[in-house]
């Protein structure tokens, strides 16, 4: 069963090659665009340092889940159980964080996430269980176990209850006040591009939790390990062609196992971040589907850490806009989506075919109509923004991307030759 692009949905386009130059150009372009939008609409909160800081906090858990998914899928194991591993992480942070201390909370989160990973690894790698089934099972078990253990651990503890832990002490944060203050002043001037840049830098230099720094570093570390070391090459070969790897004497089972363990640890860390930085307690239902959204970010990022970071940023941003701006801001996003769809439709006409382009254009027009007919989106519905965004991202990008060639396929030793 293929996770993403499947043979019935038309031929896959060849992998797009994006050079570093284009990336910088793209980022610069986005900055200019948003700056313009801000000045034109007067919505200075669009990219204020407050918004950007919140975006960072929202993006990191999604990114950690996605990074976990990346490690696992690069070794050929699909990991739907990230949500469950994340839930275990939130509990780990809550339990160890409250009873021992914040750093123990971090370690606890990672360890408990890894337990979930171990379960998935044993099922898929040792026993060859279908990856999706195992992932779903891990989610069920993780949820049940967490609720069970939470009830045991936190009932009767002051400030806690069966569904939440008491407050956890905060981890240290970093503020480079020498830079942060002048940046703040620059931002308040609302100048074109300069102030936006100041806001970006400001968000990165004040009130930054060490855990955030750690997590961001992990993106770079993952890239280096997976693409620049022998360990990483071997791991990736297990996801591209385990038969080739085995024929060269590589212990494919070991690498897959490790990858899934790492995957669980990363997801657990994401959960820990949720409990300790995004909030200050463990709470039942805290993860809210971020494990799955992380997978979408990974797919969006074409299974590379850089793209994943961008994707997580995107999801974090839309979620932040929803929380800070409410129905009206999301309403504004509708116009953006409509415009984007129409542009896509124009581009599709040249590549894919009339019918596909027509459908995209029709959806774009429908969204535009919705925008003009309504004033804002009801508060009840804004909650679904991250999930609708996920669907949209997947619908637009699933087909153009290239997952590791042997992703999701069962592997048995001795299949070489």
């Amino acid at each position: 069963m293929s996770m993403v692009a499947d043979p019935t949905a038309g031929t896959q386009s060849p992998r797009p090659k994006i050079s570093v130059g284009w990336i910088y150009l793209g980022l610069a372009g986005a900055l200019v665009l948003i700056s313009l939008l801000r000045i034109v609409t007067g919505a200075h909160d669009l990219d204020s340092s407050g918004t950007l800081r919140a975006t960072l906090v929202a993006a990191v858990p999604i990114g950690m889940a996605g990074l976990g998914g990346l490690w696992s899928e690069r070794a050929g194991i699909v990991n739907i159980g990230l949500e469950g591993m994340m839930i275990l992480g939130t509990f780990g942070a809550g339990y160890f964080g409250y009873f021992y201390g914040p750093w123990q909370g971090v370690v606890g989160a990672i360890l408990l996430g890894m337990v979930g990973g171990l379960l998935h690894a044993i099922a898929t790698v040792t026993f060859g269980v279908d990856h999706i089934v195992s992932g779903v099972a891990v989610n069920i078990i993780a949820l049940g176990a967490t609720q069970y253990l939470a009830q045991l651990a936190f009932t009767g503890v002051p400030g806690g209850g069966s569904t939440q832990s008491p407050s956890i002490d905060k981890l240290p944060t970093v503020t480079i006040s020498g830079i942060a203050d002048p940046l703040g002043e620059l931002e308040a001037k609302h100048w074109f591009v300069v102030s936006d840049l100041a806001a970006v830098l400001g968000a990165l230099t004040s009130n930054l939790s060490v855990l955030t720094i750690l997590c961001l570093l992990l993106f770079g570390v993952s890239y280096l390990v997976l693409w620049r070391t022998r360990f990483g090459l071997r791991l990736r070969s297990c996801g591209e062609s385990p038969e080739a790897a085995e024929s060269l004497g590589i212990n494919v089972i070991r690498y897959k196992f490790l990858a899934v363990l790492v995957s669980g640890g990363l997801a657990g860390l994401g959960g820990g971040f949720l409990a300790m930085v995004a909030s200050s307690t463990y709470r039942d239902g805290q993860t809210g589907g971020r494990g799955y959204i992380g997978l979408a970010a990974m797919i969006f990022g074409n299974w590379r850490p850089g793209g994943l970071l961008a994707g997580s940023g995107l999801f974090g941003y839309t979620d932040t806009l929803r929380l800070r701006g409410g129905g009206e801001t999301i309403h504004g996003l509708l116009l953006l989506v409509a415009a984007g769809l129409v542009v896509m439709a124009v581009w599709q006409v040249r590549k894919a075919g009339r019918r596909g382009a027509f459908i995209t254009a029709a959806v774009g027009v429908a969204v535009a109509v919705w925008y003009f007919v309504t004033e804002s989106i009801p508060e009840d519905l804004t909650g679904m923004t991250p999930y609708v965004t996920t669907l949209l991202v997947l619908a637009l990008f699933s087909q153009r991307l290239r997952m590791p060639a042997a992703d999701g396929k069962p592997y048995r030793k001795g299949s070489a030759g």
């Binding site: 990736r236 070969s237 080739a244 790897a245 060269l248 590589i250 030759g417």
Partner: protein
């Protein structure tokens, strides 16, 4: 079992002068229900090309997997350089200086040549510039012409094979095993490969060469070992034996040959394809302006190197791919806009090239596999329901008529051998009484007995007026069965050849586009 030098031999290049580098003694291996190897004894000498021949399923591949550490033998010993060694994984074999080029390439498409070569051997020269240098050196020294930074998926078949050879040499192999290396090559590429092998031999390496193509084997090997039913029959110098003799040793009896009899071609055109074009997402069209026609009682053979459009042609005619232009008519009726099911109902039978992926439900019983592809017709159905009894009865009939060796029709397809699976498929497709049969590599991976049976069925059907589109990489099969042969190159149909006058060399040139 005799081992070496027959007394009448007068080898020009005396293999006897070289040291024995690998010695297999009494090797045995059994899988559940199958004895793959038994009492196998072979001596391989340094500086020679040693061929191992046998029909499909004789046990050659298993033997080589044992030598490469992928399988452990149940009995017997392996000696390398005079020492008995135990191999429990490919790394042990690599450590002993053994390298293997598999029949199905072990390459990761999304990685570069460099990454594929250094994988597992990163200790030797690292994974960066050092490795790159060494790869370039080996490539030049042996004439392999390989660029380390190209993605493997961009390489053609011959180039990929050379990457596999380079992988083996990179690790310092002194014993190189090649499993059916010429299965995917045309005659000119085969000559290039043999040139490479002679260079390896000159450097003192031992080359073990597994094949069932006897003429090729005799042109490059110094010694030949014949394996039949898992046992070694004999080992002889290549110069002292003919391919006919080898073939008889392989099968143990008279060999069937696909020779044609008198022509059964009629006037009535069954399949006509005009101006068929299938574009690719990028670049050259997969198929351009295909024009062909097949008459009742005629077999049209399509020759071509894999990747030149054969699968696409078959899938377009079957309705599994949508061409951008062109017309397909069956018995005068335009079927270009019909679905695959409708085309099958109109009378097209299809033997797919990959029976495991396209022809069978491996975990379903045989009688359900009988229904596959024919879900809209008797005797499988009664209205919208499946007629279980009817399907089962007809499956019994097919099993009997087509000699499918199985204990019963409830056995799952996976449990049958390749030849029996293929015989079932042939029987099933013929049962629909088709007017056109598309046979794509119909005897690939099938033992000699099943092969001749399948040829017999096709020829019998042809006598009764069946039109056949035959795709095959086996030039002997093409020449032997076809009434007309055409070559498919880069998506275009080229010259027409008469099987009575064509030679494999002529076909080979046309298939690769070399000047003829």
């Amino acid at each position: 079992m005799s081992t070496l030098t027959s007394p009448t031999a007068e080898p020009t290049e005396s293999a006897a002068g070289h040291d024995v580098v690998v010695r297999l003694r009494d090797i045995g291996k059994t899988f559940p229900g199958v004895v793959a190897n038994q009492d196998v004894n072979i001596d391989i000498r340094r500086g020679t090309v040693h061929a191992i021949v046998g029909e499909n399923g004789a046990g050659k591949s298993t033997l080589m997997k044992i030598l490469y550490g992928v399988q452990k033998p149940d009995s017997g010993t392996i000696e390398v350089n005079g020492e008995v060694i135990s191999l429990s994984s490919p790394s042990d074999a690599i450590g002993a200086g053994i390298g293997m080029v598999f029949q199905h390439f072990m390459l990761a498409d999304n990685l570069t040549v460099l990454e594929n070569v250094v994988l597992g051997a990163e200790k030797l020269h690292g994974i960066g510039d050092g490795a790159r240098e060494v790869i370039r050196e080996i490539s030049t020294a042996y004439g392999l012409d390989v660029d380390p930074d190209v993605l493997v998926e961009e390489l053609g078949v011959g180039a990929r094979q050379r990457v596999e050879i380079l992988k083996v040499l990179y690790r310092g192999a002194r014993i190189v095993i090649l499993d059916e290396p010429t299965a995917v090559l045309v005659p000119q590429e085969v000559e290039e490969l043999f040139g490479n092998l002679r260079e390896l031999k000159a450097e003192g390496l031992a080359v073990i060469f597994i094949s069932h193509k006897l003429d090729e084997v005799l042109s490059v090997a110094d010694e030949v070992t014949v394996i039949r039913r898992g046992r070694t029959v004999d080992t002889l110098p290549a110069a002292s034996v003919t391919s006919r003799q080898l073939a008889e040793m392989m099968v143990g009896s008279e060999l069937p040959s696909p020779s044609t009899e008198e022509s059964t071609v009629t006037e009535r055109v069954v399949l006509e394809v005009r101006d068929l074009t299938l574009p690719a997402p990028q670049g050259r069209d997969l198929l351009s302006d295909i024009d062909l026609s097949i008459r009742a009682g005629e077999i049209l053979g399509i020759a071509g190197v894999e990747g030149n459009g054969q699968s696409e042609l078959v899938e377009s005619i079957m309705g599994m791919r949508q061409p951008s232009s062109g017309v397909v008519t069956l018995d005068g009726r335009d079927i270009s806009s019909l679905s695959t099911r409708e085309r099958r109902d109109a009378g097209i039978g299809y033997i797919p090239e990959d029976r495991h992926r396209h022809g069978l439900l491996l975990d379903a019983p045989l009688w359900e596999n009988r229904i596959l592809g024919h879900q809209t017709r008797e005797p499988n159905i009664a209205g919208p329901l499946i007629d279980r009894g009817g399907a089962r009865r007809d499956t019994e009939r097919i099993v009997a008529e087509f000699d499918v060796r199985t204990p019963g029709i409830d056995t799952t397809a996976r449990a049958l051998s390749g030849g029996n699976q293929q015989k079932l498929i042939v029987g099933r497709e013929m049962a629909g009484d088709p007017v056109l049969l598309i046979a794509s590599h119909p005897t690939r991976g099938v033992d000699v007995g099943a092969q001749s049976a399948i040829w017999g069925h096709i020829k019998r059907a042809r006598r009764q007026g069946l039109a056949v589109l035959l795709i095959s990489a086996d030039l002997d099969e093409l020449i032997g069965l076809s009434d007309t042969i055409r070559v498919l190159l880069r998506g275009r149909l080229g010259e027409t050849f008469d099987p009575d006058t064509v030679t494999p060399q002529m076909l080979g040139s046309a298939m690769t586009g070399a000047a003829s």
